[in-house]
């Protein structure tokens, strides 16, 4: 009973139809997910595990015959007649020998699911393909009652759902909230006081659009979007494993920043990273782009068979390429046919063949393993960057039996999965793969990317499984909107900035996130978009924000990685003293987080909820742990930012001498949150400031320690008590949930 009710509750939130009394069970939306989840394991694409020769993943199988009760052949599904359908009989049977799934199966059907299957058959048993593998078709924005609310097409799709659910959109966020939100979402940095003042003063038409255009044109934009791409592309500055030698990966990172800042069309972005080296007239930049496929860890462990390692790298490229560009979990087909999606094991190795013929030997005893691109470094020195380059004599690829590197089976050549779509005439090499990925007829590429852009701007994708658009992935919360966006993306020449502009200038985006507890209860994950999502910022963004608000941030685009504050002994511990962290000096301590050296065996200790950079990761991770609180209150980075903000507020060039406590605290609020403090907030923190001042006046050494924390120049001795006291308040403000969140 409880189970039924919960499933219904979930179904309503998802926009699926309620159980009874309403027409329209939709095969792709309601039925395939059940079959896939509960039945495909034995009756799906994997020929190896298939029972009774029955497959329910294909139309022919679902409407074909199977062996019935008395051994006679029976129709699996007879449209319109559950009584004659073996499927309905078996899932509804009480006989343990008859029932499907069998009683020992871990996944059982719920009552709701059994009755949905029956209803679908009774309603005529119509069939349709999996939404994500169907072409992106033309789609019209739906009609809505309150057209006046809508600013662009996105809003009509969103509002249509809200009107259907009997909900109203939230009120518009105030201007300050909007500017902080859109600045963080597009550039990863909060607006400066001047930027905020200019926006507030701009009361002309198009002020929001002007602000958005300014942000999209800022070089901070490319840095922020590159940071997300580094997670997906498992970027690191070292190889990982035993010796974890450094590698020269940053020129590729800078390539990514440039690509975003120059608004490289997404199809080109794909082509260059997958096969830049094979493009006609490929220049240094195109070849450099292919380091995308060399960002995987390299295992130089002594005694390891180099061929085993080399196979791992090829597999990693399959996994990363299919996840990042296509939202396909091809890795599941490495040892056997995919359990759910139309990807056979042979497809897997045909895909692997694209990546199997570069001149690498798998040994991994140096940092940068061939093939290498020679480049000029910023100081005129030579750089060697790992890239893709085909061997003159291609390596033969085999299906590997059960995925084992030393068990080669049938020989295969390069190719894309046979039962997905194809691009006739594409060359049988990585360039052909790149063209296939970037082909407008490819139903996945545009959908996957607009979903990721949506995730970046709204906090969660329209598809909540950004790495799996296959049958076991989640359906979009707004399928028509996703398809319209995908179509629009291609119509606009794969213009990333244009799509982002469309998203953040929508009325949907401009809603307030403060909606009251009732809507949080009704739609905790904000699948309906009746408000803006509020969520904790990424750890790298939090650090950048603290550096920005305190005036410590050093903005300089690109260059070799830097080593900011890091707890002593972490690298030494993991490497048993072989590696030691040589902290940088001066500006290097205050660069944006994406420039922090990423050691694969010991990620930067003050980054949390990030990809570990061991393998491709496209999901959003947002957890809440005590370790995060320890970092945000105790890390030297944040302690120094609090002291620097206090010093700047009290004695900086724009400070007003003799400011009252309330004025100082109000300025701290403006600097961190971009809004004035309310009276109640001022009252709490003024009391604290008075107390802290008294405490530090009695504890001069502690005052000095708190004021002088970090490597920036120590403040004058007579100012330290005041700075320490206000720094204590700054630390509170930095740690407010509002400061940690994108509102």
């Amino acid at each position: 009973m409880l189970e039924t009710l919960l499933t219904l509750a979930a179904a309503t939130i998802l926009g699926a139809p309620p159980l009874a009394g309403q027409p329209g069970v939709d095969f792709d939306r309601d039925i395939r997910p059940i079959l896939s989840d509960a039945c495909y394991k034995c009756h799906g694409p994997d020929a190896g595990d298939r029972k009774a020769g029955l497959r329910l993943d294909l139309r022919e199988g679902l409407f074909g015959a199977t062996r019935g009760e008395a051994g006679e052949m029976a129709a699996v599904v007879v449209p319109g007649s559950p009584q004659e359908s073996e499927l309905a009989r078996r899932v509804g049977s009480d006989d343990p020998d008859e029932r499907m799934p069998p009683p020992e199966a871990a996944r059982q059907l719920t009552e709701v699911e059994v009755s949905l299957l029956g209803r679908w058959i009774a309603e005529g048993g119509t069939w349709s393909g999996h939404w994500a593998f169907e072409p992106v078709g033309p789609i019209e924005a739906p009609g809505v009652s309150d057209a006046g609310w809508c600013r662009n097409e996105i809003d009509r799709f969103v509002l249509a759902v809200l009107e259907h659910e009997g909900l109203r959109p939230a009120a518009e966020a105030d201007r300050r909230t909007f500017l902080r939100r859109v600045s963080l979402d597009l550039t990863g940095l909060a607006p400066s006081g001047e930027e905020l003042a200019a926006f507030l003063a701009d009361d002309g038409a198009g002020a929001y659009e002007r602000a958005v255009d300014r942000l999209l044109a800022s070089s901070r934009f490319g840095e922020h979007f590159a940071a997300g791409w580094l997670d997906a592309a498992r970027y690191a500055d070292s190889n990982g494993f035993q010796l974890d030698p450094d590698r020269t990966a940053w020129p590729w990172r800078d390539w990514v920043i440039r690509a975003f800042n120059e608004n490289m069309p997404y199809d080109e972005f794909a082509r260059e990273q997958i096969a830049g080296d094979l493009l006609p007239g490929a220049g240094e930049s195109q070849i450099l782009a292919t380091m995308f496929n060399r960002n995987h860890p390299i295992n130089g462990e002594g005694g390891r068979d180099v061929e085993e390692s080399r196979n791992d790298y090829v597999n990693d490229r399959v996994d990363t390429t299919s996840t990042v560009w296509l939202g396909l979990t091809m890795a599941c087909a490495q040892c056997h046919d995919h359990k759910y999606d139309p990807v056979s094991q042979k497809d897997y190795y045909r895909f692997a063949a694209y990546f199997n013929s570069i001149d690498e030997d798998g040994s991994g005893d140096q940092g940068d393993e061939p093939p290498l691109l020679e480049m000029k470094g910023p100081d005129g020195g030579e750089l060697h960057v790992m890239v893709m380059r085909e061997r003159t004599e291609p390596r033969q690829t085999h299906v590997l039996v059960r995925g084992a590197w030393d068990a080669p089976g049938e020989a295969v050549g390069p190719g894309t999965p046979e039962r997905l779509w194809s691009l006739p005439g594409a060359p049988a090499n990585r360039l052909g793969l790149a063209e296939w990925v970037a082909d407008p007829a490819n139903p996945l590429t545009a959908r996957v990317e607009v979903n990721r852009l949506w995730q970046a701007e709204f906090g969660a994708g329209l598809v909540r499984t950004p790495g799996n658009f296959g049958i076991q992935g989640e359906r979009p919360t707004h399928p028509e909107l996703l398809d319209w966006l995908a179509g629009e993306f291609m119509r606009r020449g794969w213009d990333v900035k244009a799509m982002l502009r469309l998203m953040v200038t929508s009325a949907t985006y401009r809603q307030s996130s403060a909606c009251g507890a009732a809507l949080f209860d009704r739609d905790p994950e904000n699948r309906l978009l009746a408000r803006a999502s509020r969520f904790r910022l990424a750890s790298g963004v939090l650090r950048d924000q603290a550096l920005g608000a305190s005036g410590l941030l050093v903005e300089r685009v690109g260059g070799p990685p830097v080593k900011p504050y890091h707890p002593a002994g972490v690298w030494e511990d993991v490497s048993f003293g072989r590696l030691s962290y040589a902290q940088g000096t001066g500006d290097e301590l205050y660069r944006r987080s994406l420039y922090t050296f990423w050691r694969r065996t010991a990620a930067p200790a003050n980054m949390f909820d990030t990809s570990m950079r061991q393998k491709c990761s496209v999901r959003v991770i947002r957890t809440n742990t005590p370790l995060q609180a320890l970092i945000l209150m105790n890390d030297e980075t944040y302690a120094e930012a609090a002291a620097a903000l206090a010093e700047r507020t009290l004695y900086g060039s724009v400070s007003s001498p003799g400011a009252s406590d309330r004025e100082s605290i109000a300025r701290v609020f403006e600097a961190v949150l971009g809004r004035p403090a309310r009276a109640a907030e001022l009252a709490v923190l003024t009391r604290r400031l008075v107390e802290l001042r008294a405490y530090y006046a009695d504890h001069a050494d502690e005052a000095s320690a708190a004021a002088c924390v970090g490597e920036r120049p120590d403040p004058r001795e007579d100012r330290r008590t005041e700075i320490a006291a206000l720094a204590g308040v700054c630390s509170v403000v930095f740690n407010l949930d509002e400061a940690l969140s994108r509102e």
Binding site: C332, A514, P567, F576, E702
Partner: protein
């Protein structure tokens, strides 16, 4: 019912951090998967599925692969075959690492004396006198096997059930499933030690205690010796505990104002994590401070246990963590990779660990904790009966060997006084009762009351298990 429906997974998880474990979450949800409700979700069926025999686990991982042939798997027949070539009929195509691929496969018997111990008559080598003295508390498994022959993938497999990094480790799975019993400490703690003599170290990677796709709060928290036992635990310079208390009070006040304005229940969860951090600032140093341990503790675990960060000190901490209800306590001790100088280096390794490992079991037992604490000792694979290098000199060692190795277990629900599984006369192949790593995992989970086949997590559309698609519970290891 209405109220329950109104509570959401997100709220549960938020509140979970404040006290309700995920286990409670899953059971309150009545075993519903969140397949329809989210990108990832609770266990298909909430543990415990069986009455738990063990409440917590202490893993004494001996990284680098201890030589079972010199410690626990007695092969007297090798003495007569010393210097012979390993027959192909025994090797059956087994890979070796590239370190010995080019050399002759010469049989090397153990240079150490073995004797039977306890009423159970378990065979153990002279290198493990203290472990031998607790033979009747142990279940020695001589038939563990794996496919991996290199350290990183093998250790990753032992911890996560998969050789490629990225999946959750067994500690994360355990706390995810069973939650924590201590509100002031994380439920999964990791400690690493190395011996002072610097034998063959293999690095240990953070991904070995990662939560993978499980919620990150279930990742292992590493305790380190010294001023900063948990990273960022101490307040920054000039911030006293009283100053911090005041800051947290304000943070709580201001955050609750904001929660009222926004309606977001996540804010209360954040406040509770800040408070837990504050309590950890007290509880962790108290935990780490061994000055309240009586002299007899050090007599039991060994004098070396006085050195912070040593294996012995970590074993004492393991007991203190067990006393505090920490669910999964993971120790790593490195230095067991004896490709060379095995006779000397193995002796050193054992001198550094034998007394503390056995002392921990004795200590747990006398405090009544052994009944519901599961202790597991072992490495990521075994070592070969074939010598690496010239076996006529003391420089020789043994290469990696995945086909059989030995692990011992003690405590919660384990069949004590047993030696389980057999290997052939060369100690090369398992001849009876093989126990794959997946089987070992299935059995450990079973002792914790968890059915490994029903304990799944939905990530990106696929239900993952610690045991992947394999694993059988080994009844013979359980009492």
């Amino acid at each position: 019912m209405e109220q329950l429906l109104a509570m959401t997974r997100r709220q549960f998880l938020g509140r979970g951090a404040a006290g309700i474990g995920s286990a409670a979450l899953a059971s309150m949800l009545g075993g519903v998967t969140s397949a329809s409700a989210g990108t990832s979700g609770a266990a298909t069926s909430a543990p415990p599925h069986y009455p738990a025999r063990a409440k917590r686990v202490i893993m004494l991982t001996q990284a680098g692969a201890p030589s079972q042939l010199d410690l626990l798997d007695y092969k007297p027949g090798l003495i007569a075959r010393r210097g012979e070539l390993l027959p192909d009929s025994v090797r059956m195509g087994q890979r070796v690492t590239t370190m010995t691929a080019g050399q002759a496969q010469i049989v090397a018997p153990s240079p150490f004396r073995f004797a039977q111990h306890g009423r159970s008559g378990a065979w153990m080598s002279e290198l493990l006198p203290r472990t031998a003295a607790i033979a009747d508390d142990l279940c020695i498994v001589r038939s563990v096997h794996t496919e991996q022959i290199n350290h990183a993938p093998a250790m990753t497999f032992f911890q996560t059930g998969h050789q490629i990094p990225g999946r959750p480790c067994i500690g994360a799975w355990t706390v995810y499933g069973l939650g924590s019993e201590n509100r002031d400490l994380p439920g999964f703690i990791v400690m690493v030690s190395k011996d002072v003599a610097r034998t063959c170290d293999q690095p240990l990677y953070e991904h070995l205690w990662s939560a993978g796709f499980l919620p990150a709060e279930h990742q292992g928290v590493k305790l380190r010796a010294g001023r900063e036992p948990v990273l960022y635990l101490p307040n920054p310079p000039g911030v006293s505990r009283s100053v911090r208390r005041g800051q947290l009070d304000d943070l709580g006040t201001l955050n609750s104002m904001h929660e009222e304005a926004t309606g977001d229940p996540e804010i209360a969860a954040r406040v509770s994590q800040y408070e837990l951090a504050f309590r950890m600032q007290m509880s962790v140093p108290q935990l780490m401070d061994l000055s309240d341990e009586p002299e007899e503790t050090f007599e039991l675990y060994g004098e070396a246990a006085r050195r912070p960060g040593s294996y012995g000190a970590n074993c004492i901490l393991a007991r203190r963590l067990a006393e505090r209800g920490v669910r999964f306590i993971q120790l790593y001790h490195v230095g067991w990779d004896q490709h060379r100088h095995l006779p000397e280096q193995l002796r050193i390794q054992c001198e550094h660990t034998d007394q503390a490992s056995a002392g921990l079991v004795v200590d747990l037992k006398r405090r009544g904790l052994l009944d519901d604490t599961l202790v597991v000792w072992g490495g990521e694979f075994g070592r070969s009966p074939v010598g690496q290098g010239d076996i006529e000199t003391p420089d020789y060692g043994r290469d990696h060997h995945p086909r059989c190795f030995s692990v011992w277990m003690a405590g919660g629900g384990v069949r004590s006084g047993t030696t389980f599984g057999e290997t052939d006369e060369y100690g090369f192949n398992v001849t009876r009762d093989p126990v794959h790593i997946h089987d070992l995992h299935a059995t450990l989970l079973r002792l914790l009351g968890i059915d490994h086949e029903r304990f799944t997590f939905l990530s990106q559309g696929r239900r993952f298990r610690l045991t992947d698609v394999a694993g059988e519970v080994v009844g013979g290891l359980m009492s």
